[in-house]
Amino acid sequence: MSAIHPPAEKLWWKQPVDGVELTWIIIALTWCLIMFFAMPLWHVFGEQNYSGEAYNVLPEQHIARVEQMVQAHTVRHETDLQIPVVRPPAGSDVYLLARLWQWYPILELQKGQTYRLHLSSADWQHGFSLQPLNVNVQVLPGYDMVLTVTPTESGQFGLVCNEYCGIMHHTMLSRLYVVD
């Protein structure tokens, strides 16, 4: 019963390591290092990364930018609430607002074009969850998170809120269109 007793050898640090342990440590450490270096390498060679670009922003500033974009680029309205569908020019800055319990506005992007997507919240924390791709990021009030995105397929996508944001959290659902 040695694990619940003091080590049998007084100078246990000098005990030689068993072959099976040493072999395993070398294999496991190799795998650990591969996993570690994969992350920076994916920043260089992979195409799905968040650069870390973000700014401090007041909710009212973000709302103003959203409104400006909506005024300039709305193409139609949807649902009884007349939620605007915005088709911003390719390459432009696109603003999406999360608030209780709505994504605003609906975005219509073009396949193969690149946009700078700004995400922020007007009130509590929310979660941007694009389905069925299953791409998920956190949305915070006070921070403008900038993701440079290039849709590679067209269609209608679901935009779910996946950070708990109160009693009507489950109704915070929207769409995102990608057209050819």
Partner: protein, 567 residues
Amino acid sequence: MKPLFRTCPKSGLVLHRDAENLIKANAVAAVVFLAVGGLLGLLVALTRWPSVHLLDAQRFYQVLTGHGVVTLLVWVIFFEIAVLYFCSAVLLRCRIAMPRVAWTAFVLMLVGAAITAVAIIQGGSSVMMTSYVPMPASPLFYLGLILFAVGALIGCFIFLGTLVIARDERTYEGSIPLVTFGALSACIIAIFTIASGAIILIPTFLWSVGYIGSVDPLMYRVIWWAMGHSSQQINVAAHVSVWYAIAAIVFGAKPLSEKVSRGAFLLYILFINLASAHHLLVDPGVGSEWKIFNTSYAMYLAVLASLVHGLTVPGSIEVAQRKKGLNGGLFEWLRKAPWGNPVFSGMFLSLVGFGFIGGISGVVMGVEQINFLVHNTIYVPGHFHGTVAIGTTLAFMALSFWLVPILFRRELIWPGLAKWQPWLFGIGTALQAFFMMGAGTLGVSRRHWDIAFTDALFDWAYSGLAYTMMALNGMSALMAVTGGLLFVLIMVGTIFFGRPSGVPAEYSAQRPATLLPPAPETGGHAGIGMGWLVAPGTFVLAMFLLVIFVVYYVINYAYLASLWKIS
């Protein structure tokens, strides 16, 4: 008054009376909270079973908040305080430091947990365990957690104080036992955890009473997770120590090498708490260098430590079994292990479940870029049911089957049912973890009352398979809760109705004999195993785990590569 000790005739353990009572109190409180938390968990799972959808939205979020706080903080930390006292006072044959202060700590934890529970029951604090600002909870919610944390912090210092007493009074010879060393690593991780909790919860409490204007949401997330994730790292260090203890108790297993096992615990102490960054991988702002260094526990050194423990614990059992003559083939030692003994079966299922389910999923989803696919989906609870429910809770259950009869001097009731308990709970939770991870892979959110989005302006339909997975999760929860309930009933029944075992306890003020190291082994591991491998079966199992790990990791990166371009 001189400290009083008794010797347990069966196990040979020497128990200081105050330490014994403190361990009993903390363990009983833990089991009571486990019962509450488990039943709340059943309500959660039944609500998320789409065709059952048991609770309304308001009640669901309230119950989910309670389930998270009670199981992830209160149950495990109460039990860990009991483990810390056991590993110091009992294993070192020492009096516990400042028993009155330790009782104060116990009362603080109890009162704190009760205050937070009241806040949740009142209904104004359905903010989830994470209580992300600026969503407000009642001030009592934070106050209770702060008191609970202060109590736990005092418990940690009682443990350290007891180590000092044991050393000064020379109650043992040589270095502290490996299991006590593992408990020390849990204690150190806990102190960092609780300090971080204080740094963030005290300002949040002040904000909730209107004393300060606001708490920055991103700052909150960084520091809160230094508590929220690290608290689960206490669990890891504690349940790995419990694995080593059970290997020693059931098999008389000796660590393959003290150096390697203690070195692995050192890696936990140094690096495991960095992994709180797992929760911030898709947050705005904090840079990739910070994310990569921290999410990888500094080049995955704490993962290396877990991989090492995953080999050395079963490896030491294999060597002990082979020495007893079960030296045939690769797996005779495992086939002929005491699978009907819940102390062993619980520990081994905990080890396998933690490695294959909790461990692999945790490392893969903690990869900076793969986290895009996982963040806030129900994959995350799937993962941590693999770590906390199978890994920690099942290990603690297994230890209780051995320890509770010793502490209360009673025979275990229902030994026939106790045999099945680890299997019911272990397999039930493993299936839950598996189905939640499956549903999360298909996009289902965590903390979500209605994945059908009734009353929403738009519609979105998850795949039929996702719905099936959520239903299967609910069914598996029924199985797991049956196992959990059985555990609670056996424990409570043993304490109240178990047959008294042996002679009545005789406490004596005489100083116990010094704890001596066992005699060094002669002959080493000659004549067992295959070739130069003393534990070939374990090595094959470890390589099997690694292969699954690598394949699963590559699949995730490959799917990620097929997605939209993001930079």
